[in-house]
Amino acid sequence: MNHLTGLYGLPADTLHDLLDLAAGYRAGLNREPEIFAPVLANRRVALVFFENSTRTRFSFELAARHLGASTLSFTAASSSVSKGETLSDTIRNLEAMKVDAFVLRHPSSGAADFVASITDRPVVNAGDGTHEHPTQALLDILTLREYFGRIEGLKIMILGDILHSRVARSNIIGLKTLGAEIAVCAPTTLLPGRIDQLGVQVFTGIDEALAWADAAIVLRLQLERATGGFIPSLEEYSARYGLTDEKLDRLKRLLPVLHPGPINREIEISNLVADRIQPPGYSSSMLMEQVTNGVAVRMAVLHRLLAR
């Protein structure tokens, strides 16, 4: 593995190796003080973010620093991109400054593969358009693996805007590689074409989907989807697809719930479901666990790509 631009095409062995390494780092993050071997000492990681991000950028930054690397941050708004520089020129200039790796977030699908095609430095995709977000999927998978003790045979339901979700794509690919079954649940307008070829079950009603699932990954509903006409209104979406206690109560079975964040409270997920960790109630929120696992997963990825 020279880059991590997506989970597409990665064999199960590679995923298991990353998850095992991440699990070790996850245990380390619980210790006080957190001390890790500086396997990335003297390496420089460029965090090149063309879209706003708090969680993912901080997570990568912490991961790099835990392993002894230095980081430099780049945000499009305050850079020469606003002066019309092309992506390839930006990357080549940073490369000429001798950075050792790129962590890239970009609004264009395929941006990470494109950057990987023009540089020999490792590229980590931190989300490209509606294509992939591989470290998010890895942290979701690590969270599920820690909860269930396995991935193979699990039934994972992804709820929400599949069409525009890079998180959904990476999760479908990664989880299927590791032997899970996947279902998606969304109105047809928020499903991509030829969804059958992704090898997933499709539910348009949430009750059947919940009844099928061992765990649910709830996706953020971009608020502009309503103005784009994909759904009539946020209220209608929330009523039909929002994950609430009313819907979970019909299930009468404890369901672990994941969400990549940031959440729209009371739109795709209710306050109770988002915040409840322990019963009583039929949901177990994994959201904060996911965030911590995110640091561990990114440590593992940077370790594998960059350690000498």
Binding site: L87, D113, H131
Partner: protein, 439 residues
């Protein structure tokens, strides 16, 4: 100096000619003698003698769909470099789409192109915009176009979305026998789209262009034409002539097939990339920019339907949609890439490799698609291999295998998905306007 082409295979579908023969052309560029069979033409001292054993002498190829970017975007292509690309591909003439900057939507624009193309080695036909600035709102001056020798109108790159404006364009163009060349695209369906909406776009997370966006427009236009013919014109004046540019889907081919059977004056062209490549070629490519164009590369099912349309005669012409773009406009993530690829240099090679060599069509039919039919549709004189006629010829080596390399291009741009591909068949040169240009 006279020129003697000896031992050639004379191939001219317009005259049902396919025979061994020789041709002598005077220094005035007019054909002096044509002999068939083994009958020799004696060479005189000073004659230029070209032995074409194993080669084909065909009527000059004509590409009815090109973008030479001048005026306005000369960094991509100019009339001169575009012509060099045409010569490299074996073309003696091309038709230029009007979507330059500014758009060619007036006699002034037509005159500009004519002025700046004087002395170039090939013929440049100017296609006028269908509507002012190709905005789809007000008709361009077709009458003035016609008096300036314009033969066709198009808003290529877009299509008139307003059905009433399209209706008026069809009715008015018929007055001047202008060919209406339609870039069939429902812009609401395609807005923001990058590639065909299907299995590959779903995996790549690229916004899809639904394939119905093309036949929906064609169906609308054919309904208008059929209605006008029956209920308004009713034989009183000339019927409109309608031509679908770069046809790309099975449904569109079927619409054209049925319209032809119903007796409408409808025709269509296909590009070499659409009959050669599919959405999967984009999916597999590392550098995806050169696989991004409109209409997008389609599914294999649609590609096969295009090949069938070529086989059964539904498709009238092969046209390249030669669309040069600079490197930085393609070297970027796929959704930022400019739409379009160049095609003049690879058109004949792809036609022979993908269609003739695979037994879909004969070489004679290929010449019909690349010369006879596009010239007829554009209202140009039929090329005849007869004494006293102007020699307008392309010399073809149908057996030559070659690998597409940088040096093969005359264009200012290199945005082709075919670099490095091995093709069979190529043009060795052209004879046009009294001048022999060998590669």
């Amino acid at each position: 100096m006279s020129t003697l082409f000896l031992n050639a295979r004379l191939l001219n579908p317009a005259e049902n000619l396919d025979t061994a023969g020789s041709m002598k052309i005077g220094d005035d560029g007019l054909i002096e003698t044509v002999t068939t069979g083994g009958e020799p033409i004696p060479a005189k001292e000073g004659d230029r003698v070209v032995d074409l054993a194993g080669k084909v002498l065909a009527p000059g190829l004509f590409d009815m769909h090109c973008h030479f970017r001048e005026p306005g975007q000369e960094y991509k292509e100019t009339l001169e470099t575009g012509s060099a690309a045409a010569v490299a591909g074996g073309f003696t003439g091309v038709a230029l789409m009007p979507n330059t900057r500014p758009v060619i939507d007036s006699p002034l624009g037509v005159a500009y192109i004519r002025h700046h193309s004087a002395g170039l080695p090939i013929d440049l036909e100017v296609i006028g915009a269908m509507t002012a600035e190709s905005k789809g709102e007000a008709l361009a001056p077709y009458g003035k176009y016609a008096s300036y020798g314009v033969k066709a109108v198009s808003d290529d790159g877009t299509a008139i979305q307003n059905t009433q404006i399209m209706r008026l364009a069809i009715e008015y163009a018929a007055n001047f026998d202008l060919l209406l060349i339609q870039h069939a695209e429902d812009k609401h369906l395609t807005a923001g789209g990058v590639m065909n909406d299907g299995a590959v776009s779903a995996m790549l997370g690229l916004k899809g262009i639904p394939e119905v966006a093309e036949p929906i427009m064609i169906a609308r236009d054919l309904q208008l034409i059929a209605w006008l013919k029956k209920h308004k014109l009713n034989g009183a004046i000339a019927e409109p002539r309608y031509h679908v540019a770069h046809i790309s889907t099975a449904a569109s081919v079927e619409l054209v097939r049925k319209a032809k059977a119903a007796g409408l004056k409808v025709s269509c062209e296909v590009t070499p990339h659409h009959f050669t490549l599919t959405e999967h070629d984009l999916g597999d490519a590392v550098e995806k920019g050169n696989f991004i164009m409109k209409p997008p590369l389609a599914s294999e099912e649609n590609r096969a339907a295009l090949v069938e349309g070529l086989r059964d005669g539904t498709i009238d012409a092969i046209a390249t949609d030669h669309a040069p773009h600079a490197r930085h406009e393609k070297e970027c993530p796929p959704d930022q890439a400019a739409f379009g690829i160049i095609g003049l240099e690879t058109s004949l090679g792809l036609t022979i490799t993908e269609l003739v060599e695979k037994g879909v069509i004969t070489l004679s039919r290929a010449i019909e698609l690349l010369s006879t039919n596009p010239r007829r549709l554009m209202g140009l004189e039929t090329i005849r291999f007869q004494t006293g006629r102007k020699a307008n010829l392309t010399i073809i080596d149908p057996a030559r295998e070659w690998t597409v390399r940088e040096a093969d291009f005359g264009s200012k741009s290199r945005n082709t998905p075919f670099m490095g591909r091995t093709l069979k068949g190529n043009a060795l040169g052209i004879y046009h306007n009294g001048k022999l240009t060998m590669r």
